[in-house]
Symmetry: C2
Subunit: 211 residues, 2 copies
């Protein structure tokens, strides 16, 4: 999993321990993988570096077991420490070109964008893929810029690298997102917040990733 | 400044933008350097990665101008991004041996400790120096474990690497700290919180670093 080519961004799971409501983190991620998740982004916004590192070690072990790529949100050092497959940065994180310099060409670099201008900049900076959103209002992310499906489609048509939609995507709206022709959907609550995590992933996988 | 040998830990400045009360950050650090500070640790606990990186670029430029080592608190990735001289980690940050693996042998690794056991562990993990404290109660750090001067002296006598005292050190107590025989004092408010930053550094330098 050292190459950033042929990555399946289809059903892209972004972790959030809060929505698990006390359920075991690793077991929940494993259920999601068994349901069809194709890639995991470990996202921790309030953990100490020690906690983030310890979690990353465990998630890396799980991801390796299932041969699923692991992307670390924001922290290049955590990604290096656990030999993750890549890093995802937002507009408030380190510049993508600096991330690329630190990680080298064999790791995946993803960038959150909300406009065509940001998407073009990310491509220029060496990103392997972009996240685009928020597509729908959501509680799980404080970044509240809304990108319409028409804007998403326009970005997809003008960008050469894979495009992953993010923000409030769920079983009710996923088909409208899939219709834009993008490469993947990033999901948080619509998988990890569900009582049956595996079943939720299977349903979303069937509605999008297997299109 | 690529070697971690012959580092002067004498007057070790830890940054804190809050105590500057609106004064220019880089200009204040420059005043502290002109007053005799021998090393700067850039510490940012609430900044975004983007802000931290931008500040680090500026502080690196300043530190290079005066040939002062720059240490980054917690974030190995920020240190790599700006080619800082090293990283300082606390007990809640990444394990020191992992930091050493990522940074390689030529960068400085410092570890915060509060007991002889932690100090010995840090040495074993490959630390170049340890911080020991908090020596006195302080508002600038939430870590409130208190290390007495007798405990500090005991740690210094049992550790082969340089020992830097930290926590509430100021013009009134610095001589008692100096008497323990340690290699450096880490200062925040007693330099950056003073109206005349350069003068405060000069006085502390005379009371400790030139001992
Ligand atoms: Ni891999």
């Amino acid at each position: 999993m050292k190459s950033n080519r042929n990555i399946n961004y289809g059903l892209y799971l972004v972790s959030d321990r809060d929505v698990l409501d006390g359920r075991d983190f690793i077991r929940s991620l494993e259920e999601a993988i068994l349901g069809g998740v194709t890639l995991i982004q470990l996202r921790e916004k309030n953990a100490t570096s020690s906690e983030f590192y310890s979690l990353a070690v465990k998630v890396k072990e799980l991801a390796s077991k299932y041969n699923i790529p692991l992307i670390i949100n924001d922290r290049i050092d955590i990604a290096l420490a656990v030999d993750a497959d890549g890093v995802h940065v937002g507009q408030d994180d380190m510049p993508a070109n600096v991330v690329r310099d630190i990680l080298g060409k064999d790791k995946i670099v993803g960038v959150s964008t909300a406009t065509l201008e940001e998407a073009l900049k990310a491509t220029e900076d060496g990103a392997d893929y972009i996240g685009v959103g928020a597509l729908f209002p959501t509680d799980t992310k404080t970044d509240t810029r809304i990108v319409t499906l028409d804007q998403l489609k326009n970005i997809k048509e003008n960008i050469s690298i894979p495009v992953v939609g993010i923000g409030g995507i769920n079983e009710n709206n996923i088909k409208s997102v899939s219709d834009t022709g993008i490469d993947g959907v990033a999901i948080v609550s619509a998988i990890l917040g569900k009582e049956d995590i595996r079943e939720a992933a299977v349903k979303l996988y069937n509605d999008f990733a297997r299109k």
